[in-house]
């Protein structure tokens, strides 16, 4: 006796109650506060802000807690909230030369004005698990110095003075940037739209695409011209005011890759740029982004298209982890109607093949 499945609604409610229970875990363990996440899992917060495309530490922390630490799930929560927010305007481009720098390194020069500033980095830590941290040691008070008020010139500016580095694109030609969250992407993209897509792209995907260029799939001879992390001021032009209204400061990571370039029919030999800019402290992502940005400029620079990392539609259409996870995971949904259609077809084809008299033979004749 067959009885159609019912009670799906109850099943869903029960599943979600169980999820809430598992999320909380052992009630004897103190509950995680958003401040714990913001303060002590700050790089996770940064990743959710950048790929969630929403600069809000508290909401990012909430998303991480709600997602039980599943980063893509947390990014998805941030995006789904972000998308409902009204758009008030576009800030002026941030001036990263005026950044209050906490970390700044260049691989191209031994020393440079402003100096090399290591800042809070995992670099040169020995990756030995720290039993002291497991027990909750209080760290030493770090050495700090008063923030520099002067602008810290970018390495790209030094190189640009000599004409060795291609000039930065002229932003004035396009005063209002594309906005991939408001208008559908149409290929080929302008670079501003492409950079937006990369900035919210999946760190792992961009990392692998960037890595592929280093291994010879569209090699671009990169040097880390400069990586800087720090706070920049956001300013909004308001028609009623005769100055740009300051909105506050955000932390960003900027990476300028400098790539050797032999020249092509379209451009003379010079160093070219790959650019990465990401919310928060996200060095790996910014570096990967700048490598992929450079490889996606292949058509613009007249290079041969030989590798996946140069294929704009391939890279951009698959970089978004919220889209990717949704479509991969949608295979969990029932597909039995389509499967039934396929079952019917395969049975028929097998029957015809067994009989050896199918229409297939007629068609072939």
């Amino acid at each position: 006796m067959y009885v159609a499945v019912k009670g799906g609604e109850t099943a869903i409610d029960n599943a979600h109650r169980l999820l809430a229970d598992r999320r909380r875990g052992n009630r004897d363990v103190a509950e995680l506060g958003l401040d714990h996440i913001m303060e002590q899992l700050s790089q996770a917060v940064d990743r959710v802000m950048s790929e969630g495309a929403l600069y809000d530490r508290e909401l990012a922390a909430l998303a991480i807690k709600q997602a039980r630490g599943d980063m893509i799930e947390a990014i998805f929560l941030a995006r789904a909230y972000r998308t409902t927010l009204p758009r008030f305007g576009y800030t002026n481009p941030v001036d990263t030369a005026a950044m209050q720098v906490e970390r700044r390194i260049s691989a191209c020069f031994k020393d440079l004005p402003g100096g090399q500033l290591l800042g809070p980095t995992f670099d040169y830590t020995h990756r030995l698990l720290d039993p002291g941290l497991a027990e909750g040691a209080t760290p030493e008070t770090p050495e700090t110095r008063a923030p520099e008020q002067a602008r810290m010139m970018r390495v790209s500016d030094f190189l640009g003075q000599e004409g060795l580095l291609e000039p930065a694109p002229d932003g004035s030609a396009k005063p209002v940037p594309d906005d991939i969250a408001r208008t559908p992407m149409t290929y080929p993209l302008d670079r501003d739209a492409r950079l937006q897509a990369l900035a919210r792209g999946d760190e792992g995907f961009l990392l692998s695409m960037a890595y592929s260029t280093q291994r010879g799939y569209a090699r671009s001879h990169p040097f880390a011209g400069e990586i800087r992390i720090g706070e920049v001021e956001l300013e909004l032009e308001v028609p009623e005011l005769d100055f740009a209204a300051p909105l506050g400061r955000i932390q960003v990571t900027e990476c300028q890759m400098v790539n050797q370039f032999q020249g092509s029919a379209k451009a003379p030999p010079q160093f070219t740029r790959g650019y990465g800019l990401v919310f928060g402290q996200a060095e790996r992502k910014a570096m990967a982004m700048s490598l992929v940005d450079r490889s996606l400029r292949a058509t613009e620079l007249g290079e041969d298209l030989v590798a996946p990392a140069q294929d704009e539609e391939f890279v951009i259409a698959h970089a978004d982890n919220v889209q990717a996870t949704g479509f991969v995971e949608h295979l969990k949904l029932p597909h039995y109607v389509d499967f039934q259609s396929e079952l019917d077809l395969v049975r028929r084809l097998r029957a015809e093949a067994a009989a050896g008299t199918g229409e297939a033979r007629e068609a072939a004749e």
Binding site: M1, Y2, A4, V5, K6, G7, G8, E9, A11, I12, E58, L59, L62, F76, R79, A80, Y81, R82, T83, T84, P86, R87, A181, R182, T183, P184, M185, T186, Y187, P188, E313, A317, V322, Q323, T325, G326, F327, V328, E329, H330, L333, P334, H335, Y336, V337, D338, Q340, S341, E342, L343, D344, L345, L349, E352, G358, E359, A360, R361, E362, A363
Partner: protein, 298 residues
Amino acid sequence: MNTEARAFDWAEAPAIATYNFAYLDEQSKRMIRRAILKGIAVPGYQVPFASREMPMPYGWGTGGVQVTASIIGPDDTLKVIDQGADDTTNAISIRKFFQRTTGVRTTTATTEASIIQTRHRIPETPLTAGQVLVYQVPIPEPLRFLEPRETETRTMHALEEYGVMHVKLYEDIARHGHIATTYAYPVMVQGRYVTDPSPTPKFDNPKMDQCPALQLFGAGREMRIYAIPPWTEVTSLDFEDHPFAVQAFDRPCALCGADDVFLDEVIMDDQGGRMFVCSDTDHCNGRQQAGHAGEQET
């Protein structure tokens, strides 16, 4: 199963995040509404739209949900089906989403609904004028698996260059003796655009032709909206010597005895026992209530 409309109230929502009627902000709705009007004006053409992240994953009906959210109002009655059934988990989830964000009345009865959002089926009960059928579409581009590049397929549509599709279908015939596409079977809309019907079984294709209801298609992840107005010619691609034909089942529904419907195969035991029942649960229930019975019920 019907629920009454209730006043829309987000008072229960936490203060840290608040949402609009039908979730989407008004600017997003306007953008989607404009795309819908263009889609209606150019039947079968895929209008690009700036799809929003929705609070359910891409691939789980976000396109359909955005379309429904942009058209739905307090006077509507909503039905949501997945695989033809109102009680599949994703259909329940989407129905609950709209109950929660709009408070509109919901129903499982095809005849009572003003908006029907669907995944993978068209109801067996004929649709009527004034109804809107909203399809959830995963891959809106019927040429996508023949040509992965959007830049190429867009040109093919612009030039009405559909030879590649006919070649693919004809290769099926050469190899198998018939067209081996059983769902998402491409259609020609009003003689101009080759269009993806969404992954409905080809059994449902004839229902799209001269349908009195408005058919709207939303592909969220792929950022496309398209439409088939009421009373529009929709033909399934075929050849003179191999005309389009729908699946036929060699037995009726075991529950209601219907023999002109799409059936699900249900595995009954581990000995290969199986039975066939209506995929459209509302249609099946209605027939049973009207006294029809299949072999299991007699």
